[in-house]
């Protein structure tokens, strides 16, 4: 019992660990490569982090209440395909369509998880497979490059406001909305309660199923938004556009200090985590690490982060 209280005390320090890591990494990379600390490079870093952050934000909602969403990268890819295929016909409506697609996919994952009582990793793993195939089939397994007329619709993603790239602005809006959702709404409070103690939340009259479904809808919608932003940045859509982003996204959430078991965490931690991942990625590029080898590092970082953020000895059974 006393040791639990001590854990809480040390957690006081522990929660600043990710931020300290981020600052340390920035200083390290900056020391080797002073150009890294210039405003333009930092803005580039922020732009590069935006997609990862938006994906990670969505999955943060799910992780907070103790679940996981493994379908996000497939959703983001499908969303990019949907935009690329419909942009010339629907115009701006294509973005709305892709976004709605994400919300519906999240809704279906949530319903499968809650109503059919399937563990979320199975439900979303299956959903990920479905979405990936849908993207392959609709795109006829190819990358769809946007024509000049279509690119005219991408200004809201590719442009800048007072020198700040719009993708960064979009990410900041997502951050603001997610922060309010988490800290000021019933959904946010209930999520934390469910993640930390689902039986107590249920016994207190919380409609647990509904909160879970909302979280999956938010996750799907965020993934779709990430796909939309990717279309803007790359001027194309492809069924593999967001591949290799699942691992870094979940790593970002956990590296930021949100507990993979739920209940403890915040969107700010995910922001810090996403920035850490980006800085590590850039650092590796400076060091000349093969871009395809980078997920080795993220895999190791993910395991290390979980090991450090949670005191394993307090958890007798890990499944």
């Amino acid at each position: 019992m006393n040791s639990i209280i001590e854990t809480i005390r040390t957690d006081g320090l522990r929660q600043w660990l990710p931020l300290a890591t981020l600052i340390l990494l920035v200083i390290l990379v900056g020391a080797f490569q002073p150009a890294f600390l210039e405003v333009n490079t930092l803005l580039q870093l922020a732009s590069d982090t935006a997609v990862l952050f938006i994906l990670a934000t969505g999955v943060t909602f799910v992780i907070m209440l103790g679940g996981i969403d493994l379908s996000i990268q497939s959703m983001a890819s499908l969303s990019s395909v949907a935009v690329a295929l419909t942009l010339s016909r629907f115009g701006y409506g294509a973005f709305v369509f892709a976004f709605a697609l994400g919300a519906v996919a999240g809704l279906l994952s949530g319903i499968a998880h809650v109503r059919l009582r399937i563990p979320s990793f199975i439900a979303t793993l299956a959903m990920g497979g479905v979405l990936y195939s849908a993207a392959l089939v609709t795109s006829r397994e190819r990358s769809i490059t946007l024509g000049d007329s279509d690119r005219a619709y991408l200004g809201w993603i590719t442009g800048t406001v007072f020198g700040i790239p719009n993708v960064v602005v979009i990410a900041l809006i997502v951050l603001a909305i997610a922060h309010v959702l988490q800290s000021r709404t019933r959904f946010g409070r209930y999520s934390a309660a469910i993640g930390a103690g689902e039986p107590a939340a249920y016994a207190s009259g919380v409609k647990v199923d509904r909160q879970k479904i909302i979280a999956f809808v938010l996750s799907g919608a965020c993934a779709a938004l990430a796909g939309i932003v990717l279309v803007g940045r790359l001027a194309s859509g492809s069924p593999t556009l967001a591949s290799e982003l699942l691992l870094p996204s979940i790593a970002a959430v956990v590296v930021g200090g949100t507990a993979i078991t739920g209940g403890v965490g915040s969107i700010w931690r995910t922001l810090v985590g996403a920035l850490i991942i980006s800085v590590v990625r850039i650092g590796m590029t400076f060091l000349g690490v093969n871009i395809f080898a980078q997920n080795i590092v993220f895999g190791v970082v993910l395991v290390a982060a979980v090991a450090i953020t949670i005191d394993r000895s307090k958890i007798p059974i890990v499944k």
Binding site: M1, N2, I4, I5, I8, V180, R184, T185, R186, R189, Y190, A192, A193, A196, G197, P199, A200, A201, Y202, A203, S204, G205, V206, K207, G263, V264
Partner: protein, 522 residues
């Protein structure tokens, strides 16, 4: 509050067993948890071949003591002596290696494994070569273990195919495998081993235990005082974390044990009986022939505003299931449940909350509170709706409310942002109560509300219960002790085998006697 003076029973003439060093002894053992002094300078000894009974009310410290003996907890101070020499049990498996066996109330057999696999679970190594288990050898050895407890079961049977009594024997056989490796005499802890057994099965268990005294000593923990008297040589009585008596069983009786366990004469004051006000006319909940297949049936009663309705009954009487139904966990499948003049079916706790029910569960730390959320968030968890304006929680108002409840209920916490994890049991229970008062619950379901609380905390909870009922809140109470049920209630219902067998008023000064109720319980 007065505590009955301890009258040590005269010692019998030393038996041969007594001349030996105790098989196991605790010397001046002390153990504290936040807010609870669980064991106060406890010394006990168990001599070779002896059956020692351990009795006490819930919260008296029995389970903490057992957990120290079985290596789950370590004492803060004091010593454990095994065959006369000092030792430490750093874990349950360490205690087992040193010859402490355990037979628990919640049976620990894995029902999908065979009897033999269960007996040697975790100890298959002795039968394996190069990682391959010699099943024939294992089952042969398991048969020999089963012979020790004289049970006629095939070790290749699955545990799920045995009845409870046979499973209990297998547990005993499993505990006895320790004697092959343990250095000295075995000591086996029997924790409420009879709670799921029928009388005939209990007789068999007791006969086996007596027959095994040549092999082991036993510590027998039970709520059933008559059984403790029947089986034990000596009995330790615990109260509020201390051993208050060490009796020779042959010279003790149930009344005496009970008196020592409860240890108070001013019961009426303890349960705040002078504060018991007559309840109101208004009916807040009505049950008509309520039924749940396999659990309870034909349940009729009316619950009035301000009434405390106690339900007494043993395990299997259906009262636990009835309570769960009213809290929204297990909808009834027949009869009528009427609230606010409408017939309702409660399919989830959320629906129960909607008709004004607040559930205070026995598993406070699991269902009562979110331990890793702050006090304030727990207090408002049952009613965030009224705090939400334009979709956003009014955090200033939330803070104000939380502070108000902390003051009103005298919740001792460093602040409203402290995690509930860090509060003592009594204060945690007050947070649960605050949650429902804040949600303006009209019906409180108190499911063993004082379990695990020490005496002072209990009294505070009783006082709060009196205060809320005076304001018209109705209470349905199930409790660990009959005494608490009688002391608090306006009306007592007794259940047996799923039906109400007795109902009686319990006005102050006209409280029913425990013996009268017990007759309807068993």
């Amino acid at each position: 509050m007065s505590v009955t003076q301890l009258h040590p029973a005269p010692r019998p003439a030393p038996t041969p067993a007594e001349a030996l060093a105790p098989a196991l002894a605790l010397v001046h053992v002390d153990k504290r948890f936040p807010g609870v002094h669980a064991l106060k300078d406890v010394s006990i000894e168990i001599r070779p071949g002896e059956v020692v009974g351990l009795v006490g009310e819930n919260g008296a410290g029995k389970s903490t003591l057992m957990k120290i003996l079985s290596g789950v907890y370590q004492p803060d101070s004091g010593d454990i002596l095994l065959n006369g020499s000092k030792t430490r049990f750093v874990s349950a498996s360490d205690a087992m290696r040193q010859g402490i066996g355990m037979v628990f109330q919640e049976q620990s057999l894995l029902t999908n494994l065979t009897v033999g696999e269960n007996i040697y679970l975790g100890n298959e190594k002795q039968f394996s070569r190069f990682g391959i288990v010699d099943w024939r050898a294992l089952y042969a050895a398991a048969s020999r273990q089963l012979e020790k407890v004289q049970i006629d079961a095939d070790p290749r049977m699955r545990a799920e195919d045995l009845d409870f009594a046979a499973r209990q024997m297998v547990e005993l056989a499993k505990a006895l495998t320790l004697e092959e490796n343990a250095p000295g005499h075995l000591v086996i802890l029997l924790d409420e081993p009879t709670s799921v057994l029928e009388r005939a099965e209990i007789d068999i268990l007791f006969a086996r235990v007596r027959a095994l005294r040549a092999r082991a000593s036993f510590i027998f923990v039970s709520h059933r005082l008559d059984e403790v008297l029947e089986l034990s040589d000596r009995i330790y009585v615990m109260k509020d974390g201390a051993v208050v008596a060490d009796l020779v069983a042959a010279e003790a009786n149930v009344t005496q044990l009970h008196h020592l366990m409860v240890g108070r004469s001013l019961q009426a004051e303890y349960y705040r009986e002078p504060l018991q006000k007559p309840y109101r006319e208004e009916v807040v909940l009505e049950l008509e022939g309520l039924r749940h297949a396999g659990a309870y049936r034909d349940i009729d009663f009316k619950l009035h505003a301000g009434e405390i309705l106690g339900i007494a009954g043993v395990i299997g009487s259906g009262r636990e299931e009835l309570t769960r139904t009213l809290a929204g966990f297990a909808p009834h499948d027949g009869g009528k449940l009427i609230a606010h003049g409408k017939s309702v079916t409660l399919r989830s706790p959320a629906e129960a909350v909607d008709i004004g029910v607040g559930y205070i569960p026995r598993e406070r730390r699991v269902e009562g509170l979110v331990l890793f959320l702050p006090v304030a968030a727990n207090i408002t968890l049952g009613d965030l709706g009224t705090l939400t304006k334009h979709g956003l929680i009014d955090t200033r108002e939330e803070k104000r409310l939380a502070q108000e409840w902390v003051q009103k209920l005298r919740i001792r916490t460093p602040g409203i942002h402290t995690l509930c994890l860090n509060l003592s049991g009594g204060n945690q229970q007050k947070v649960v109560l605050a949650k429902w008062l804040n949600a303006k619950a009209r019906i409180l379901i108190l499911d063993h509300p004082t379990r695990g609380l020490d005496v002072g905390a209990k009294e505070e909870v009783y006082e709060l219960i009196r205060a809320v009922t005076a304001e018209g809140v109705a209470v349905i109470l199930t409790s660990d002790t009959l005494e608490e049920t009688i002391g608090l209630s306006h009306t007592v219902l007794v259940m047996r085998d799923g039906v109400i067998t007795h109902r009686v008023g319990a006005e102050p000064g006209h409280k029913p006697q425990q013996v009268d109720l017990i007759g309807h319980m068993v």
